[in-house]
Assembly symmetry: C2
Homo-oligomer: 212 residues x 2
Amino acid sequence: MKNPVRSVVSRSSLKRLPLYLHLLEKLSAEGVARVSCTYIAKEFDFDPTQVRKDLEATGEVGTARIGFRVASLIGRVKELLGWNDTHDAYLVGVGNMGKALLGYRDFEKYGLRIVAAFDKDPQKIKSHVFGREILPMSTLLKVASKTPARIGIVTVPADQAQEAVDLLVVSGVKAIWNFAPAPIRIPRGVILENARLTRSLAVLTNNLVKKT
Amino acid sequence: MKNPVRSVVSRSSLKRLPLYLHLLEKLSAEGVARVSCTYIAKEFDFDPTQVRKDLEATGEVGTARIGFRVASLIGRVKELLGWNDTHDAYLVGVGNMGKALLGYRDFEKYGLRIVAAFDKDPQKIKSHVFGREILPMSTLLKVASKTPARIGIVTVPADQAQEAVDLLVVSGVKAIWNFAPAPIRIPRGVILENARLTRSLAVLTNNLVKKT
């Protein structure tokens, strides 16, 4: 194993790392060379001990009272997140969410490159979204045999999600990023990550009704 | 307090409730009248005890071996989530993510109604996105004095996020749903919920690099 710390980082730490990375890149652009956990903690209103623990999971060692080297820490955070590598992805389902993801230029910064987009709708096929041609779903396996990808992004309606996932799994993807609000079954060895807007909305609206 | 259980439900329970709701509505449409925790747990590969705890937080009481009444449970879950009420919202920033949210018809099901969309870009102002006219940011306070909203959805770039939030707070919104990858400061009493795609992507790509 190249980097043994990778296996011990918690899911909640992982979710905070993109935030730190964003701040570190801003500081780097401003010419700041060193940063302390206290500074980062203050910026996000987090507990400094938690920030220290999150950052130490990257393997980077800070110096007392001086802190971490910004440039070096950026590299370590990216490595832990897997954002130094490039991950090719297919996107299935070019509705509103699919279009938003196709247009999201920052993905390349995170190592995610959407190499092909598919849809079932004949109206959408052959049209272009952000300069990319939409391909028919029926060609996915053929495309995969020439241009394999490791991630499948699922932005189809809930009732078509399992079918899309099954096809992506057959095509050889190793991870599914699912945006459909449906329970998904995947074979052992394939990674499933659900990105659900409604989870975040649930917390917000529950808090709102509690206040009234 | 009308519903005292509201204050004890955990954030992680809240995040699972939209999933249950989706399944319950599917069952209801299929004419299923009763459902057990075991069935729901199996559907999502969750622990049945956890599902029971989540559902009991709604105040609904199940019957041993028979389970919960689907119709009644749907009502309770929606009440706990605040999705029985309608929450008017402004959306600020009509980029790709803003457009995707404007086009997301299911929000009405969750009680979220975007009543106005704003942007700074003169190219976008007066254009229509999903039948809605995009208004200039400078008119937000005027709009708010006539059509107040309780939620502000922020889909501007990171470096414009704080400014958008400040304006929304002045307009009187009680909750911010932030999609920008930036730390946000809000006054006490205003709810902040961050919806960050990169958090979910971080977990996925970290798992992917661990496997290789």
